[in-house]
């Protein structure tokens, strides 16, 4: 059962396509000859070049939604498009706030199941197989949808690497939004953007993460300093998020962000399975923990058995000294 066409849901803002959509385009391109991007917002023409360059031949855009939450109007527009011109074989979505909603809306509207939390996809004899991590990532479960298309898959971000394909700018097709009645009535009245210096957590190549082992919220400053010093992003465990030390946007793990940096520094973190699933994809892992038996050492390339509150200040000092000596970058 060859796959012919995949829709990839992308997000963009102010003419900049989010990396998650580009990652999914790279995966879809390997599986299907025709890949089309689903899009909303007023910047379809501006992202046509980058989406085309990553393999989308066409952008199906719902246009500017003027404050409506996207899931309901986008699902309605896609359902109408499917009704008129037939379904794609699959729709690939990212587990973002809006796209999880979109997956739910589409699934119920089209009466199709959806496979969520996928961390890989391959082509099997009977269609696409989604890979899922079970038991804290120790097990891979592969699942397939038996319902008619479209098959809906929601991937964890950072599952694939984005890769330009060098295609021409994508064509833009504007989809009409049918009346969604009461279901479409939720409206954004104000957007609050938290200030964040440095790279976004899920895009950073260095992530410095702190856990309860720091002992005290004020010591989280050590994490922030080290992250800044290494040009990376600070992060935390659910334990420190729930304790109110840092906002939810810092949380790495099953119920937080998935990261795949070049290096992940875990400081005072035990390495619970729900944390590990969010960071095990890092190329390198360094862990500092005073307990030699902490599970985090099971995944660390370099493990330091020691007190974070002592090691981190010395590390920061040594990095400063190294700068003064004109150390290389």
């Amino acid at each position: 059962m060859a796959v012919g066409r995949i829709w990839v849901v992308t997000e963009s803002s102010g003419g900049v396509a989010s990396p998650a959509g580009l990652e999914l385009l790279a995966a879809a391109r390997r599986l299907a000859p025709v890949v089309e991007a689903v899009h909303w917002g007023g910047d379809a023409a501006e992202v046509a070049a980058v989406l085309g360059g990553h393999g989308a031949t066409r952008i199906l855009t719902v246009g500017d939604l003027e404050g409506a939450l996207p899931a309901v109007p986008v699902a309605a527009a896609l359902a109408a498009r499917i009704e008129a011109s037939g379904p794609p074989d699959a729709v690939f979505l990212t587990a973002s706030y809006d796209q999880r909603d979109l997956a739910g809306r589409l699934s119920a509207r089209l009466d199709r199941p959806v496979l969520t939390n996928a961390v890989g996809v391959t082509e099997g004899a009977d269609g696409l197989l989604a890979e899922h991590a079970a038991f804290g990532g120790s097990t891979v479960v592969r699942a397939r949808i038996t319902a008619p298309p479209p098959h809906l898959f929601v991937f964890r971000p950072r599952t694939f690497a984005a890769e330009a394909a060098g295609g021409p700018p994508a064509d833009v097709e504007v989809l009409a939004v049918p009346d969604t009645g009461a279901a479409g009535a939720a409206t954004i009245v104000h957007r609050h953007v938290a200030e964040r210096a440095g790279p976004a957590l899920d895009e950073a190549s260095v992530v410095v993460a702190g856990g309860r082992g720091l002992g005290d919220p004020s010591r989280f400053g050590l994490i922030e300093q080290l992250a800044r010093r290494l040009g990376g992003a600070p992060a935390g465990t659910r334990a420190v998020v729930d304790a109110g030390w840092v906002p939810y946007s810092y949380q790495v793990g099953q119920t937080g962000t998935t990261v795949k940096p070049t290096v992940y520094l875990a400081c005072g973190i035990s390495g619970a399975t729900q944390h590990l699933v969010g960071m095990k994809g890092a190329r390198h892992i360094v862990a500092i923990n005073k307990d030699r038996d902490a599970p985090i050492f099971g995944v660390a390339d370099l493990g330091v058995v020691g007190d974070v509150t002592k090691v981190l200040p010395r590390l920061l000092e040594a990095l400063d000294a190294r700068d003064d000596r004109g150390g290389t970058q």
């Binding site: 706030y97 909603d101 997956a103 592969r142 939720a186 957007r191 360094v286 390339d301 590390l315």
Partner: protein, 268 residues
């Protein structure tokens, strides 16, 4: 919905999932490849926030009712009793052998059939469950009920006959307004769930729990359970494991080892 004063008579349906204790490790059934769910079920911690939110909103509205809705095997009520002890008024439980193997959409269809007759002003659920964590069930439910939905709520308030919700986003949060009836999913920390009091625990024993089967709800049995899920697990394999690397004991010089490592991988 009967409005007395501005909000009195608000009816909130709270979805609560009853799950195996997450502290005891799960296992897969070797023949069906699904999670084994025997033993006692407890209230999913994630849903305690919805229960608390419901109780607080009914209070703010000047009265009303919090109705729990759950789908669970073997007429399980362990988790429901916990939520009733917190103060919920009654519960609707759907339990039927035909529902074994239901996926998120199947679950949403069952919950929709159970919630529709309630005439709720607001349906609350958690952002995602602890054991399934698809996070799609509530929005599927909203679509089936024809309701607007606001997910990832960090704060929920009644305002002008509708809701004002602070919704978590990648960048920060959005303030969202939404008319009622609606469905909202709450994140951990939206409110602080109360502990059931002794009086609450005793009182919960006598609160009504209506139990329904698939047939009661007028659902097609073929649309539920394994067959309704229309997805199959193809195989299960151990994943490639990361191997532990070097471990050094800090003797006052471990920061040097870290710097050398960062240099080696060209981060410094």
């Amino acid at each position: 919905m009967e409005w007395v004063g501005e909000y009195a008579g608000m009816k909130v349906a709270v979805c609560v999932k009853q799950i195996p204790d997450p502290a005891t490790p799960g296992r897969l059934d070797p023949t069906t490849n699904t999670l084994v769910r025997d033993g006692k079920l407890i209230l999913d911690d994630s849903d305690a926030y919805g229960v608390e939110m419901g109780l607080q909103l009914v209070d703010a509205a000047g009265g009303g009712e919090v109705v729990l809705v759950s789908m669970a095997p073997h007429r399980e009520t362990g988790g429901l009793r916990t939520a009733l002890a917190m103060g919920a008024d009654r519960a609707v439980l759907v339990s039927d052998d035909a529902l074994a193997g239901s996926d998120a959409l199947g679950t949403a269809k069952v919950l929709a059939a159970a919630i529709r007759p309630l005439g709720a002003d607001l349906v609350l659920a958690a952002t995602e469950s602890t054991d399934g964590y698809t996070g799609t069930t509530p929005v599927q439910l909203a679509e089936l009920l024809g309701l607007p939905s606001v997910t990832f709520a960090k704060r929920v308030e009644l305002e002008g006959g509708g809701l004002r919700v602070r919704r978590q986003t990648e960048a920060g949060y959005d303030e969202v307004t939404c008319p009622l009836p609606a469905l909202v999913t709450v994140t951990a920390g939206v409110v602080e769930p109360r502990y059931p009091s002794f009086k609450g625990i005793m009182g919960a024993k006598n609160k009504p729990v209506d139990v329904h089967t698939v047939a009661d709800l007028g659902l097609d049995p073929a649309a539920a359970g394994w067959s309704g899920a229309r997805q199959v697990i193809v195989d299960v394999a151990p994943s490639e494991q990361r191997r532990a690397g070097e471990v050094v004991e800090d003797q006052g010089d471990a920061h040097q080892a870290i710097i050398r490592f960062l240099e080696q991988i060209k981060v410094l």
